[in-house]
């Protein structure tokens, strides 16, 4: 063994190797605090969600039964008892009409954007305007339909509500559909063209089926959003206490607008009805949302 230089003992002691964390307590604490904060922020979001769902399901579940879903709305907010039948009918009809208007139009428009227009002037303008439309507050859309439709026909109807909702759904459908079409690999289009197929056939028989799961899930999310809209309905559809199966004549009402009207009332009966309507609405909306997630997970192109 060679002679050890002076001070080497100190040196050796000073550089004792250890693999234990040599974090200062401050660093360690900061890290832990940060982690806790992140988990905490999740809790801040999750807890109210749980509370909302809990309240709606518990209180709403108390009153929802077949009678609730079918009987007419009481004339007076103070009256105890069911139901929300007209609102169920209204929600179903108006949302269905809005979907029938906006989904085909939106899908066709998205096909133009991705398969034909691509980056030309018109397509870029349409894309930009669609983005603008996504930002229109729903109440403004209600104002617009009021001015353009209700004033002309002098009546608040279910169809006017469907128009307003369709205008809200349209940009969502266009954007998600275009996203999905873009995900379809170009090689599939080339293969189809090389086999002698024309553009329309390629789009309808190859591209669209490949993008269908994503398009469906996007459409369902749009439907869920429309079903929950309140302000436009209040402005253009009016109010009714009895189920109105005719979208083109007479006022109508939806679960969402009923919730709004009843929520502001001081009477517990009204509030219970509001919860019941909320229960029904949440089932519908969550159902659509979860179904959309499921479809997109299982079937989409990755």
């Amino acid at each position: 063994m060679t002679t050890v230089p002076i001070g080497a003992d100190d040196l050796a002691a000073a550089t004792e190797v250890t693999l234990e964390a040599n974090l200062t307590p401050r660093r360690r604490v900061t890290n832990v605090v940060a982690t806790v904060a992140m988990v905490g922020s999740f809790a801040v979001a999750a807890i109210p969600l749980a509370l909302i769902i809990g309240y709606v399901f518990v209180k709403g579940g108390q009153v929802v039964d077949l009678a609730f879903l079918t009987e007419s709305i009481p004339n007076s907010y103070r009256r105890v008892g069911p139901g929300m039948g007209p609102a169920v009918v209204g929600t179903a009809l108006i949302t269905a009409a809005a979907s029938a208007l906006s989904i085909p139009l939106g899908v066709l428009g998205a096909i133009y954007l991705n398969e034909y227009g691509k980056q030309n002037r018109l397509a870029r303008t349409i894309r930009f305007m669609t983005d603008v439309m996504t930002g229109v507050p729903s109440v403004v859309m209600g104002v617009f339909i009021y001015v353009v439709w209700v004033l002309r026909f002098k009546e608040q109807t279910g169809f006017a509500g469907a128009l307003a909702l369709a205008c809200l759904m349209l940009p969502i459908v266009v954007r998600t559909t275009e996203e999905m079409l873009r995900l379809v690999p170009d090689e599939l289009r080339l293969a189809s063209l090389a086999l002698g197929a024309r553009q329309w056939r390629t789009t309808l028989t190859v591209v669209l089926p490949a993008a269908l799961p994503g398009i469906t899930s996007g459409a369902m999310l749009a439907v869920a959003r429309a079903a929950g809209e309140t302000a436009p309905i209040m402005l253009v559809t009016g109010l009714t206490y009895h189920a109105n199966w005719n979208l083109f004549e007479g006022n109508n009402t939806t679960l969402a607008s009923q919730i709004f009207r009843n929520a502001g009332q001081p009477y517990e009966a009204a509030q219970l009805r509001a919860y019941g309507a909320a229960f029904t609405l949440i089932l519908l909306v969550f159902g659509c949302t979860l179904l959309a997630r499921l479809i997109s997970r299982r079937f989409s192109i990755k």
Binding site: L190, A191, A194, L195, G196
Partner: protein, 297 residues
């Protein structure tokens, strides 16, 4: 090389392996030996532009019936670009422009009244990366015939079986025709694409580096099937694998790039077009010799 446009036999070109012709002709009842001298495509002074950029210039060659013609050369010299001219697939590339003359049995493929759809029904294509549709195996192969108007289920089944047999895939998938094509391996998918292409009974098959995404075994299978179907179709294959070209092709066209001193751009040119045997044993151009002997590329 001089030739007449109506397809009558031309001045002698060393046609390789002519001894094969009588045997296969008798067995399959395919086109007689004379037809093999028939010209399917006549290309004169073909140039392809992408916008202002000249990708390939002044290509002159002719493609003979029931032969396998290979386009070889290093990457980026325009082989695929020229290939795509034959079935007008360059049309889908924005800014692509073709100058010169490309005739299919005497008809100008780029003529004003010509429908690309009609061109593509007669001239099929297999791509570099297998691209089956996300449909069942049956629906993939039946896609082309359905477009052409065949609706009868019985007829379609017959066509599908015939095509899959030609592509040497039938035995492997006959029990699962209704399953998704995406469940097949890469080599199987490519053979499926070949089956899909032959299902419409084209005259010509264009293959753009069909084996470059596949392993050697799958490659071998496809080379075998090319040999087997050669008598029904005229095949043009682009390949960067010159051993493959030497193995399967009857004629070879060797491309390379020229760098322009003026503008410093690269343009593809056809250097030599010859019978395969000739090109590999006794090439006329020095660049060809360098390439086939592996000195570059």
């Amino acid at each position: 090389m001089t030739h007449e446009e109506d397809g009558t036999p031309m001045t002698p070109i060393p046609t390789p392996a002519t001894t094969d012709a009588p045997a296969t002709a008798a067995a399959v009842g395919a086109a007689p030996a004379a037809a093999r001298d028939r010209v399917v495509f006549d290309v004169r002074d073909l140039s392809v532009f992408y916008g202002e950029y000249k990708a390939v210039r002044d290509v002159n060659l002719d493609v003979h019936q029931n032969e396998i013609t290979a386009f070889i050369g290093p990457s980026g010299c325009g082989k695929s670009t020229v290939l795509r001219c034959f079935n007008r697939m360059n049309d889908v590339i924005p800014g692509a422009r073709v100058e010169g003359d490309l005739r299919y049995h005497g008809i100008d493929v780029y003529g004003p009244k010509v429908e690309p759809v009609e061109v593509r029904r007669r001239i099929g294509m297999v791509f570099q990366k297998p691209n089956p549709f996300p449909k069942s195996i049956f629906d993939n192969v039946a896609y082309g015939p359905r477009i052409a108007g065949t609706k009868n289920r019985g007829e379609l089944t017959e066509i599908v079986e015939r095509s899959l047999r030609q592509a040497a895939l039938w035995d492997e998938v006959k029990d699962r025709l209704d399953r998704s094509a995406l469940g097949l391996s890469g080599g199987q998918q490519q053979r499926l694409c070949i089956a899909r292409a032959v299902a419409v009974n084209p005259e010509v098959l264009l293959m753009d580096e069909p084996c470059s995404a596949l392993d050697p075994i799958a490659t071998g299978r496809i080379e075998d099937l090319m040999e087997n179907i050669k008598d029904r179709y005229t095949i043009i294959i682009v390949t960067h694998n010159m051993q493959q070209a030497a193995r399967v092709s009857d004629r070879c066209a060797f491309f390379t790039t020229e760098v322009s001193e003026v503008s410093d751009t690269r343009t593809g040119v056809l250097v030599e077009y010859d019978a395969t045997d000739q090109m590999f044993s006794n090439p006329s151009d020095e660049r060809t010799e360098n390439y086939v002997t592996g000195r570059f590329g």
